[in-house]
């Protein structure tokens, strides 16, 4: 802890940056920042799911389950908004628990297809049932976060800056929770199930229960991200959670890397910058699928361990330099 600025210093600086960031941006960029914050929760929750080795194609829909559920709880039952978000997250986790019974009879490729099919069935239900899901047009006029005051600060959650602070606090806390889980013996068991499920089972690990556990927790956080989205936009519809969003999640994850918790975060930030700033500014939005495909191929070929591997190398260099200084 002798070294300046020290760990706590780095974190404080980071926090200040997050607080000041929206004030350096335009209104539309602030809106993008809100979406980015929500997507970070989504993609980190996806990584948690992949820890046990299974990649799902239903994650975008699970996010939607949280969004629909939280919206309906406020609309139909009059539940107070932040509480409805937590209930929405729990609903997504519960749906995942139910889905896990058929899905975890399958592995690998079959699980991938199975999870996609399960997601499409849920989307079909949203489209099919006008009551309560609103059919293909979805739900509109969803309650926003109620305004409130803390001391002299007034939070009006129609303002992207206010909502950004709220979302960032929720996402920050969720990331901390997921990190704590991963670093616990539960997280070690997730990794064990991933690398050698037979040996894990011979060591007394109920492999299927742990796969389910990771799936359910990840789905809960995905549902929370959906709820955050629903009460910001004020509307949800089945097409928001379609295969395109799932492809985004996969791209962020693969380009960022999955070895660390910050890998997918970097992937998500990098692609959002490319997407929203570069492509939009130069008017190449139509080219988006092409650009994404290209980036994916380039990253798989030249950076198979993701953007995070660059950071890891950088950190290792800093550590070496420090050791050099000391000796």
């Amino acid at each position: 802890m002798r070294s300046f600025p020290g760990r706590a210093g780095v974190w404080l600086g980071f926090l200040a940056l997050l607080l000041l960031l929206p004030h350096a941006l335009s209104y539309s960029q602030q809106e993008i920042l809100v979406f980015l914050t929500i997507n970070i929760l989504l993609v980190v929750s996806y990584r948690l799911l992949t820890l046990t080795g299974e990649w799902s194609l239903g994650h975008a829909v699970i996010m939607g389950v949280g969004a629909y559920a939280s919206a309906l709880y406020t609309k139909e039952l009059g539940i107070f908004v932040p509480a409805s978000m937590i209930l929405g997250a729990c609903t997504a986790a519960l749906v995942a628990l139910v889905l896990s019974y058929p899905l975890f009879r399958m592995k690998g490729f079959y699980f991938l297809i199975g999870s996609f099919a399960a997601g499409e069935i849920i989307r079909l239900l949203w489209k099919r049932f006008r009551e309560p899901f609103g059919g293909p047009k979805g739900l509109k006029r969803i309650d926003p976060m109620p305004d409130f005051d803390i001391a002299v600060w007034r939070f009006d959650f129609f303002e992207p800056v206010s909502y950004y602070y709220f979302a960032a606090a929720v996402v920050g806390f969720s990331l901390w929770l997921m990190r704590r889980i991963e670093r616990s013996p539960v997280g070690l068991t997730f990794h064990a199930v991933h690398w050698q499920d037979k040996l894990a089972e011979a060591s007394g690990v109920n492999v299927r229960a742990y796969r389910t556990l990771a799936f359910v927790i990840a789905s809960g956080f995905a549902g929370l991200s959906g709820a955050l989205l629903a009460h910001y936009i004020g509307a949800v519809n089945p097409n928001m959670f379609d295969l395109e969003l799932m492809v985004f999640i996969l791209t962020w994850t693969i380009i960022g890397g999955t070895a660390t918790i910050y890998g997918p975060v970097i992937g998500c930030i990098a692609l959002t910058i490319i997407n929203e700033i570069v492509l939009r500014e130069i008017g190449l939005e139509q080219m988006r699928p092409f650009v994404y495909g290209l980036l994916l191929i380039v990253s798989v070929l030249f950076l198979p361990k993701g953007l995070e591997s660059l950071v890891q190398k950088g950190l290792a260099r800093v550590a070496r330099a420090k050791r050099g200084e000391e000796s």
Partner: protein, 256 residues
Amino acid sequence: MSEKFLEVSGLGMRFGGITAIDNLGFSVEYGEIRGVIGPNGAGKTTTFNVISGFYKPTAGSVRLRGETISGLRMYEVARRGIVRTFQHSTLFTEMTVMENVLVGTHMRYRPNIFSSIVGRDAEDRRRARTRATESLEFFGLLERASDRAADLPHGHQRALGLAIALAAQPEVMLLDEPFAGMNPEETKSMMSLMFKLRDSGVTILIVEHDMRAIMGICDYITVMNFGRLLAEGRPEEIRTDPAVVEAYLGSARDVA
């Protein structure tokens, strides 16, 4: 009274048209070292796979202290005290040696997600680590605790497989060719560790092709051939059993 410690009876295992085990029966007493030998393809690994719950037998049963355990899932069998190792080095290769062995402690210190989050499992984590450290020390792997398992030399990898199993504090260990790929020196020190394990109350079943080792450590030997029981007896009886010599040792005369 005559309830056996571990009893295999009428065991059969068919894969489609192949009969890997056929009407196999034997029993093991508490605290012994039992060798299971036989030519390649005799069904030894399959027998271990059935006892450990990896396969469900197509006939017969396995009983531990009178309780039928055949048909249970592998983790359920493990939780009843039977822990196995695998024929080929099967490890969590991307994890550190210490993390590998910590997975072995899973059954004793079942992780709980809620106490992990609020930080109330510090005591369990400390005990698990102590247990893992003991197990590594037993197999002389402590200095390598923070190495990646994939980076260990072959002999150490075999030992790590045993250390993971021992960390689970099993009553019965099923060891599938633990000495494979070890040099004579490593084999010798591993043999003395087997005696130490047995003396600490672990019953050991061991499949091994290294006859010198088998004859040296086993109290009793079960010989299989074509999925069936061929002979049973003390090492010196097996060595001179004409049927065994013909079926098995005949091709490796130098052993006797």
